[in-house]
Symmetry: C2
């Protein structure tokens, strides 16, 4: 029986997670859920971001379903570093998985791209790079101030995420992996990534490979996103590229993500890419699709690929069936999806 | 009289620079040019990237016009670090200027964007950040390898480029500056950028400002590029964002750049954003527009704003007048532009 920790969070987080749970319960009736009150609201109330006891409780779950955390009242970095990144790092969620599909019926922001043509997944490294928080400020608030950020990359960390990308490509139709980095400028980290990529690809002779600089990849995601199948890249590049991929496949309202520890030594975390959107919170108009698609990634990770496919196909069909201009409520979308997967 | 060093470089670099010079000579007949043979061809022939004596000769010029350098035969990083970045750093070219305009007649890769609607300029920092080359590899080629890259940012470097962005915004119609960084994760460098931005903006009360995380900005450049006027950001973010901006404004074939030392203490360098494109080199089919637009930036920098405007308007008109499907030769485009500015 699956034990899921639910962190609904702030703003529309609570609204979309409710719908994701509704759908999840239909396909996995035996799921046990426990709610955790974390995020901006709790921080503002108590000053706590992620108490050690809560971290330990979360550890006892099979997965975490997160809505969104954040509010303009909280200084930048507090919840990101203290909650989201802390969980990614402490639970060794080294595969940050972000699929982008242009569903039939969805409008791409790109001219001349037909539904179905874009179907890519970014495997973003989740535990290293510039996200480790190594850095500092010297002579702060003086004209002599210096600020540093250090990107740390290990063979261990790079190899395991590249191997994961190849393994995922093998399960897909096109079987292609694109490495994205900036080897011509970031020669130290880029060298490690490129050499490791070459070593791993020798183990996967059936997979087509290519390399692209991050600036070129950002451009091609706009001019020719059809060319990608699996993209593997570092933490920061993955952050940027997945938002572009979301933009060209119907927008952030449909973008799901999983922060995954593939070995299941720790709970993995699944969340929509969008934020808490305080401007539309409480109105019941947020699109729960990304949260529901995140629940599908959760199902897949927990060994229910067939239920996962059912959920994501339902989202695709619902999106396709939408009448342009007439938006359904958050709850109505959730009801439709729950009915569709029943 | 202006003295321009010309580094035509490799591949299509030589072809497009010839056209840029043709146009430049029409509007600035008294220009003196000196050719410098640098790039992949020279490196492969002699092993030299940028001899000290050549660097000193370049220093004696008012500006550098560069075509493109690079070839697959040269290992990544050699020409980038040894030539392009060396010039940017040694000549303190701290303003890396990249305008993007959707000319009438150009097709955006975006659906629903009308010509004229996009008119933005990215002011990318050019001498700091992750581009400084600070980093290394420990235990290389072993399972214990660690690779680092360090981003170095100074108040000095950040403040001068932000101030430049505000000064440019003041000369534009919309008078808006967007700071792009990733303050919620890169809290050390992001803090410096954000605090410095706030300090400088107090000096420019007439300029509208906003802040965006780099991932959000990458997305908005695709979904709503009309919102930007002047964007100021760090070296690496600027590299990525300007390729997206190019992609949504007619592609890399129209993207010009200047690596500028605004004080003119050192020569500034002007080059198309595209590379040497070995696949189409020698065929006479490369679009010289980006090189010509780079020459326009050069003119502006050297104090000929009116000639600069004439050149860039000519490019805009030529692009507008193109018949879809019937490509002109590199030389024919150059001839048309030279005639148009005469
Ligand atoms: C909120 C932030 C820390 C996070 C990131 O940068 O990874 C977000 O942008 C994401 O992509 O999940
Ligand atoms: C070639 C490379 C060093 C360069 C950069 O990264 O700055 C290029 O991509 C650019 O944008 O001018």
């Amino acid at each position: 029986m699956a034990r899921i920790a639910v962190v609904a969070g702030d703003g529309i987080g609570t609204e979309v997670v409710a719908q994701a749970l509704k759908v999840l319960r239909v396909v996995l009736p035996e799921v046990e859920t426990n709610d955790y009150d974390l995020g901006a609201a709790r921080y503002n109330r108590t000053g706590e971001v992620l108490p050690g006891s809560v971290l330990e409780e979360l550890r006892g779950h099979d997965a975490i379903l997160l809505g969104a955390v954040g509010d303009p009242s909280v200084p930048p970095g507090v919840l990101e570093r203290g909650l989201l990144l802390k969980l990614r790092f402490d639970f060794d969620q080294y595969v940050n998985l972000r699929p982008s599909r242009l569903w039939p019926g969805t409008t791409s922001s790109l001219a001349g791209v037909k539904p179905g043509e874009i179907d890519l997944v970014v495997v973003r490294e989740g535990t290293e790079g510039l996200y480790v928080g190594a850095g500092g400020n010297l002579h702060q608030d003086t004209p002599a101030e210096v600020a540093t950020e250090e990107s740390l990359n290990t063979r261990h960390g790079v190899e395991r995420v590249i191997r994961d990308a190849f393994a995922r490509a093998r399960k897909r139709e096109r079987r292609k992996v694109t490495l994205v980095h900036k080897t011509n400028v970031l020669t130290h980290a880029g060298g490690l990534w490129a050499r490791t990529f070459d070593a791993v690809k020798a183990e996967f002779p059936d997979i087509e490979t290519e390399y692209q600089h991050v600036d070129a990849a950002a451009m091609f995601l706009v001019t020719n996103p059809q060319r990608y199948d699996v993209v593997v890249t570092d933490n920061l590049f993955g952050d940027i590229l997945t938002d572009i991929a979301a933009a060209v496949t119907g927008g952030i309202g449909l973008a799901a993500s999983g922060s995954i520890n593939p070995e299941r030594a720790f709970p993995s975390m699944f969340e929509p890419v969008h934020g808490s959107a305080p401007d539309i919170a409480g109105k019941g108009i947020a699109d729960p699709s990304a949260a529901v698609l995140s629940a599908a990634l959760l199902l897949d990770h927990l060994g229910h690929p067939e239920a996962a496919a059912r959920v994501s196909e339902a989202v695709g069909a619902e999106v396709t069936a939408r009448t342009p201009g007439s938006a359904l409520s958050t709850e109505a979308v959730g009801d439709r999806l729950a009915a569709a997967v029943a």
